[in-house]
């Protein structure tokens, strides 16, 4: 049956090029190949987000008077609405976790080196977009925690030099977090960010397929002149392994959705006192805690502003890592960048734990 469909299409579209590509495409086999699956896992979770997000869109109403009630309706009245919402919430978190793991694995393996600079940059931008998805999606249920966390989060944007005030009003749609902010975040979450990420995902995948998987420097060094790394057929061997990982992720999502459902909390009340324990999602905790630890003034400069500038510079630096790390580009070991990657992992883990303990 499948063969008949392929033949039917082949007659009309001439799939010989594609068939040849699939038949010839291989994936390197070596000790670090396990890290390759993180990209596929991130892609799978992104697809889950798109699918569950579209279903949620059928019922969600993006206004301050109806948002909370519509989510409440989804989880109580809509058949399997609870499952869709819980899977969407959990998958969002797993997606960001997988994206970070993918980012650090690529960083440590130096897979960004020539000729994969564009793959790295598109991946970095995708990671930032995923964080944008998380930040904008957090407000959408319009509950107490997300409301006040968004207030704090958008307030931090005000520390960006020169354009801070403009940025706050751009994000909030006014001076404070209101229904206008919800409308903007909704637009960002379901239109602007998806459009940008779809284009970037397409580019990222195209580059990965075009250039193939990067072989780690350490593996390359052990090759004799003219020798190639052993390859595994992309189809079906690698694809089946990828699907297996996706199924495990699906099982984890289902278990999390059923046994640790995502609470809805109380509806946001802009006039209520700020409840205790306000904090952003876990993936912003390290940054949030760092900003809290910076003294209010450092050498006459506003501490929070310096922190925001520092985070901005780190993001810019990371985007341009392939061009800065010349040793990797030349095929040599790059211990400084390995140390930077390890320090980054340690910073995120330690500061996230510290923030959890502090709150």
């Amino acid at each position: 049956m499948v063969q008949q469909v392929v033949d039917w299409l082949d007659e009309r579209l001439d799939l010989s090029g594609l068939k040849h590509f699939i038949a010839e495409k291989g994936v390197p086999v070596h000790a670090q190949e396990i890290w390759y699956y993180l990209g596929g896992l991130t892609l799978f979770l992104f697809a889950v987000q798109v699918f569950t997000g579209i279903l949620l869109l059928l019922y969600y109403r993006p206004s301050s008077t109806e948002a909370y009630e519509s989510v409440q309706f989804i989880v109580t009245r809509v058949p399997f609405g609870w499952l869709i919402r819980n899977v969407h919430s959990w998958s969002a978190n797993l997606l960001i976790g997988a994206a970070f793991a993918h980012f650090f694995s690529v960083f440590l393996l130096k897979s960004y080196r020539k000729p994969r600079e564009m793959t790295w940059i598109s991946g970095m931008l995708l990671l930032l977009l995923m964080l944008g998805f998380g930040f904008s999606g957090y407000l959408l249920p319009w509950n107490e925690l997300s409301f006040f966390a968004t207030k704090v989060g958008t307030g931090i944007a005000g520390s960006v030099p020169l354009v801070g005030g403009f940025l706050i009003r751009l994000l909030r749609g006014g001076d404070d977090v209101t229904g206008a902010t919800l409308s903007r975040f909704f637009g960002l979450h379901v239109a602007i960010l998806p459009a940008m990420s779809t284009a970037l995902v397409a580019l990222h995948l195209l580059l990965v397929q075009r250039q193939g998987m990067s072989v780690p420097l350490r593996v390359e060094k052990h090759l004799k002149p003219g020798e190639r790394v052993r390859q595994m057929p992309f189809f079906p061997n690698y694809i089946l392994r990828d699907v297996l990982v996706w199924y495990v992720a699906l099982a984890a999502l289902a278990a999390l959705a059923a046994f640790s459902p995502w609470g809805l909390g109380r509806k946001a009340d802009p006039f209520a006192a700020v409840p205790p324990g306000i904090r952003p999602e876990w993936y912003f905790l390290a940054m949030f805690h760092t900003l809290k630890l910076i003294p209010s003034h450092v050498l006459g400069f506003e501490g929070e502003r310096l922190g925001v500038i520092a985070f901005g510079l780190v993001a810019v630096f990371l985007v341009f890592v392939p061009f800065v790390d010349r040793r990797s580009r030349d095929g040599r070991n790059s211990p400084v960048f390995t140390a930077i990657a390890i320090a980054g992992v340690l910073y995120l883990v330690v500061f996230t734990i510290l923030a959890q303990i502090a709150s």
């Binding site: 409440q72 609870w82 499952l83 089946l240 099982a251 289902a254 278990a255 459902p261």
Partner: protein, 431 residues
């Protein structure tokens, strides 16, 4: 002292105060001209060795509401503050009065504080009837009768270094009032000789008792400045113990609904001391349901006993109703909480439990009419609300079971696919 003598002395004193106030008003109550000029009072008194004479101007200079408004020593003490010579400065012909005490002090303060025109310039919202109220107080009456140990203005507000009433360091700030009153009222030596109406000695344990009360806790631990302290029940300038018949009105100032319910009850005619019969006066503790009933801890048992006693039957019925509602609330709250934690959306039920909890509060309020026919319907409403919550809880529990069964089935299916994929991969790689 005989009654007629007491009233004659009171009348004489009242006339004296009135005369002082009237005379004083003519000269009232502007800060002495050129108040920023030389003040020999302060410079002389600062050099005196006796603290009683040197401390007052120092306290006045540090912080005093009158000084801040431009008043100086001579506005209360008279005399001539420009004179370098003590005799001239303290010359009675120049209006020197010394340290005003007793009725003279009342008159000195009233010179401004009873004059609406003067007070309008400095504190337009402040009342001007303090002296008139004081005259009606036990303190005022005792003073009029010649008792110089009673509190006058300076006893509570201080004489020098007077702070505004809303200054947290003022002795009459709500959190400080009890301690200020206790300066005299907790002193056995100071209070010796004062008797209650029944000729028993006036107790000195009011502060100790008050400190055990729910009111004191609310005021000092809960930072609730509206919680009552001494003056909220006794009055401040017109301080006097509320009469036995007025207690309900006094408590009802804040506890209006309880007072209204109580006024309809059979006990309103029987309890001489109103609310105090059950709740005490100074040591008002947090009430509990255990106070109602017929067991050893209950208050009702103090008067009611015997199975056929109407009071016993009413107390048993009301306590039973309240306990039934409490048990229902505990059960439903636990169900709702467990289901919420399991991820079920129970906010409507949480709201309903809150409504039932309000019914419990209302039942406890209705209980003050001491009539079960007022309590039972309220409890029934609460129980009906909880029955709906329990029904929704059963539905949610069934849904939760369904979800978990569904998960087990889907996880089984996923596991099968994973195993099948693993076999397929192994098969492919063996080729």
């Amino acid at each position: 002292m005989s009654s007629s003598r007491y009233w004659r002395r009171s009348l004489r004193s009242a006339v004296a105060v009135a005369a002082l106030v009237v005379c004083a008003r003519t000269a009232a109550a502007q800060p002495a001209a050129g108040s920023a000029a030389t003040n020999t009072c302060a410079s002389c008194h600062a050099t005196l060795a006796e603290p009683k004479l040197s401390a007052p101007p120092a306290a006045f200079a540090r912080q005093d509401v009158h000084r801040e408004s431009g008043f100086t020593c001579i506005d209360c003490h008279g005399g001539d503050r420009t004179a370098a010579d003590k005799l001239k400065a303290h010359d009675a012909a120049r209006g020197f009065k010394g340290a005003p005490a007793g009725q003279t002090q009342i008159a000195a303060c009233a010179r401004c504080h009873s004059d609406a025109e003067v007070m309008r310039k400095y504190a337009p919202r402040q009342r001007v009837d303090q002296a008139a109220e004081y005259a009606t107080s036990v303190h005022g009456k005792q003073l009029a009768a010649g008792d110089s140990r009673v509190a006058t203005c300076a006893s509570c507000h201080g004489a020098h270094g007077i702070r505004r009433v809303n200054d947290a360091k003022s002795p009459v700030y709500p959190t400080n009032v009890a301690t200020t009153c206790a300066t005299c009222h907790a002193s056995a030596s100071h209070m010796s000789g004062y008797m209650l109406a029944g000729k028993q000695p006036l107790p000195t344990n009011q502060l100790a008792l008050y400190q055990q009360s729910v009111h004191y806790a609310a005021l000092t631990k809960g930072n609730d400045l509206s919680a009552p302290t001494c003056n909220d029940c006794h009055g401040n300038h017109g301080a006097a113990p509320p009469g036995a018949g007025s207690v309900v009105n006094v408590c009802g100032t804040c506890h209006a609904v309880f007072a209204q319910k109580f006024s309809t009850s059979v006990h309103a005619q029987i309890f001489d001391r109103g609310c105090v019969e059950c709740h005490s006066n100074h040591a008002v503790r947090k009430p509990s349901d255990a106070m109602l009933g017929t067991d050893a801890q209950s208050l009702c048992a103090g008067c009611h006993s015997g199975a056929d006693d109407k009071g016993v039957m009413a107390a048993t019925k009301m306590r039973g109703d309240i306990e039934r509602l409490k048990a229902g609330l505990n059960r439903s709250s636990a169900t709702v909480s467990a289901l919420s934690n399991a991820g079920m959306e129970m906010s409507a039920q949480e709201l309903a439990v809150g409504t039932a909890r309000t019914r419990l509060t209302l039942a406890r309020t209705e209980m003050h009419a001491f009539d079960p026919t007022h309590v039972t319907p309220v409890v029934q409403e609460g129980l009906a609300t909880l029955a709906a919550v329990d029904k929704a809880g059963e539905t949610a529990t069934a849904e939760l079971r369904f979800r978990r069964r569904g998960l087990a089935v889907s996880l089984g299916a996923i596991l099968l696919v994973v195993v099948a994929l693993a076999f397929k991969i192994r098969q492919l790689e063996r080729r």
